[in-house]
């Protein structure tokens, strides 16, 4: 199988700038075009294990990231995003091109793929049981997700939990994990062998770096998982790790608040969310030390046991 790693960095750069590449991430194929070096660097580093479709006839999404022309070529250079005539984001400083690529891929899925209930949540799996970690920014969701993944949990997604309507399966969308500000160094120390993209400062979300997804998770991107736990993480400095059960109805409402297309899907969304909650144990989880968190997660008992 052809992967991004099959190309040298120079070949990849040339392909991205000319024809673009058809990159497969889970269920979706994206045609990416860009002459911006940091985009090619990021894809080369973090997507090395991902399939590239050489003779692709179809892409679900078409993304172009181009450096703006005119004055902007020299003065505070910017990168422009174009999803085939639609620009979901304003131009950004060229240094933010790779994070912009990541945000755009998320946007493409969350605003189009209505075959799934799409929840703003990380999701990881072990022994066939998946944990959904929904949370607003700043709750430590991605940090916890990165730590779990470094200790052998399989990554399904750090950002978008996709629940297939009808079957209730969790469909992987394995992509790099986005870490912000202090989390970057925390994970560098916690998992020294992890691979990071260069830190980009001053984005709308602060400093950002992306962490490479484990090769094993990428290889298993076709295997769906079943929800077993819905855990709302909350980082609190100095707190001891604590797991508090929450009532299903309350968990349902909180999960609904984190879903992008819950109201758009109407009754199908309600049913899908209900199935997730029915199949899962729901907890609130307060933590500060990652080791304690990992320990508690390793001792979670699946529902019905």
């Amino acid at each position: 199988m052809l992967t991004v790693a099959s190309y040298s960095r120079a070949q990849l750069g040339a392909r991205l700038a000319e024809r673009g590449i058809h990159l497969q991430t889970g269920a979706f194929v994206t045609c990416v075009k860009s002459e911006v070096a940091s985009v090619a660097d990021g894809i080369s580093l973090l997507y090395a294990d991902y399939p590239v479709l050489e003779q692709a006839e179809f892409a679900d999404f078409h993304i172009s990231l181009h450096q703006a022309g005119g004055v902007r070529r020299w003065f505070r250079p910017q990168v422009r995003l174009d999803c085939d005539g639609i620009s979901p984001f304003q131009p950004l400083p060229v240094a933010q091109a790779f994070p912009m690529f990541e945000w755009t891929l998320n946007w493409c899925v969350s605003s189009n793929a209505h075959r799934y209930l799409c929840i703003h949540a990380a999701v990881v799996e072990k022994n066939g049981y998946a944990v959904i970690l929904p949370a607003p920014p700043g709750s430590g969701k991605s940090t916890l997700c990165a730590a779990l993944v470094s200790k052998g949990w399989r990554l399904l997604s750090d950002e978008l939990t996709l629940v297939r309507l009808g079957s209730g399966e969790l469909v992987p969308l394995v992509r790099p994990i986005s870490l912000k500000n202090a989390s970057i160094d925390i994970i560098r120390r916690y998992a020294p062998s992890s691979v990071f993209s260069p830190v980009v400062d001053d984005t709308s979300k602060g400093s950002i770096a992306h962490l490479k997804a484990p090769a094993d998770s990428v290889a298993r991107a076709g295997q769906c998982a079943r929800p077993a736990w819905v855990i709302f993480p909350k980082y609190a400095a100095g707190a001891s790790a604590q797991l508090e059960p929450i009532a299903p109805a309350r968990a349902f409402m909180r999960l609904a608040k984190n879903a992008f297309n819950y109201s758009l899907l109407g009754s199908a969304g309600f049913a899908a969310l209900g199935d997730v909650i029915d199949a899962s144990l729901s907890y609130e989880f307060t933590y500060s030390a990652l080791d304690d968190a990992i320990d508690i997660f390793s001792r979670l008992t699946p529902p019905g046991q």
């Binding site: 179809f58 085939d84 005539g85 793929a113 209505h114 075959r115 109201s263 109407g266």
Partner: protein
């Protein structure tokens, strides 16, 4: 110009949908996305019984869009209910226009048609009451300075757009279908007098079939922006397909166009619907009584208009553009404003928008 874009071919001849290759679907879906016609394309495929024969990757996208379309239809019905509730005590005749009318009357353009505003038509002398009632129920005029307020209230055919403070839904309250300042002045009283009720919708009304087609035509061919040009042309194509089967429709259409001073936009609507979508209105018009007198542009003007509209009515996608697409859009933008306002008023308006509004916004 070369062959019609694939998306246009699909609406012209739905059977084409079964024959598109995967590579063609890759392009059709992108053209449909910018034209806001993906959900409409799904409906077209279902109507033709072809959805099951479409490549699974493409079908997946069509069904994603169908979900959005279904939700939209539900939301529009809900919003119209809320508007009726807000205006219930006024005893004002309420007429729905455009998208909301197609949806509530279950007309062929409705399934899969996405739009951002609900348009209603009320008598001019009742505007103040309607506006006050809507404000009481949560709609507020938003983001308009004193100049904009004057622009709408003095010169336009509608109130400044109102947005619901909680649900963010938009409503445009019209008292006519063309600005006060336009040369053509279709009499709204004529439109209101012919408006028709719908089964199970109480006193809520929509325009009569001929008027609905004429309004759709004037909306498209008096406008300066064509981002949704193809979608609006598809509306006309589908309305004509539906109403064209009614006895007397084709005889009444040119007569009504004359009475409302809307012959020219009707001429363009029929011409480009036939040209791009193969509506086949010309044959019907030829056999209709009094068709020959439909006001049409002179020869050089028609050549120019063909040049402009054959570009501007295509999806705004790179694959549908040629070297003249940009200039066509620009000239039609000028034309749209020109038709809506006399020269000096337009000059003053553009001057204010270009130099005074930005300064005030900065200050």
């Amino acid at each position: 110009m070369s062959a019609l874009p694939l998306l246009v071919q699909a609406f012209r001849q739905p059977q084409r949908l079964a024959g598109f290759t995967l590579v063609e679907w890759d392009l059709v879906l992108r053209q449909a996305a910018v034209a806001n016609l993906t959900a409409g394309l799904c409906h077209l495929a279902e109507e033709a019984g072809l959805l099951g024969r479409i490549a699974p990757q493409a079908r997946e996208h069509l069904t994603w869009a169908r979900t959005v379309g279904e939700r939209h239809r539900q939301a529009v019905r809900f919003e119209v209910g809320e508007i009726r509730r807000a205006l219930a005590g006024l005893d004002v005749p309420l007429i729905l226009l455009k998208g909301a009318a197609y949806t509530l009357a279950s007309l062929p353009p409705a399934p899969g048609r996405l739009f951002s505003d609900i348009d209603i038509l009320v008598p001019r002398e009742r505007l103040a009451e309607v506006e006050a009632a809507l404000m009481l129920h949560g709609w507020a005029a938003s983001g308009h300075d004193a100049y904009d307020q004057r622009y709408y209230r003095e010169w336009m055919h509608e109130l400044p757009p109102m947005q619901h403070v909680k649900r963010q839904s938009m409503i445009d309250v019209h008292h006519a279908i063309l600005p006060e300042t336009a040369a053509a002045r279709p009499d709204p009283a004529l439109l209101r007098a012919s408006a028709v009720a719908m089964a199970g919708q109480g006193d809520l009304r929509v325009l009569a079939p001929v008027d609905m087609v004429l309004h759709s035509a004037v909306h498209l061919f008096y406008d300066g922006e064509f981002d949704h040009g193809l979608r609006d042309l598809v509306d006309i194509h589908r309305l004509l397909g539906e109403f064209g089967k009614m006895p007397g429709f084709w005889d009444a259409l040119p007569v009504r166009a004359r009475a409302l001073q809307l012959e020219r936009p009707l001429f363009y609507a029929l011409r480009y619907a036939d040209m791009l979508l193969g509506t086949g209105s010309a044959a019907n018009m030829d056999s209709a009584a009094g068709a020959a007198q439909l006001d049409r542009p002179n020869r050089p003007q028609l050549v120019l208009m063909d040049f402009l509209f054959r570009r501007a009515l295509l999806p705004s996608h790179a694959s549908c553009a040629d070297a003249y697409t940009g200039i066509a859009h620009f000239l039609l933008y000028i034309r749209g404003n020109w038709l809506r306002m006399p020269f000096f008023l337009l000059a003053r308006h553009l001057f204010h928008k270009a130099f005074i509004s930005p300064k005030q916004a900065a200050g």
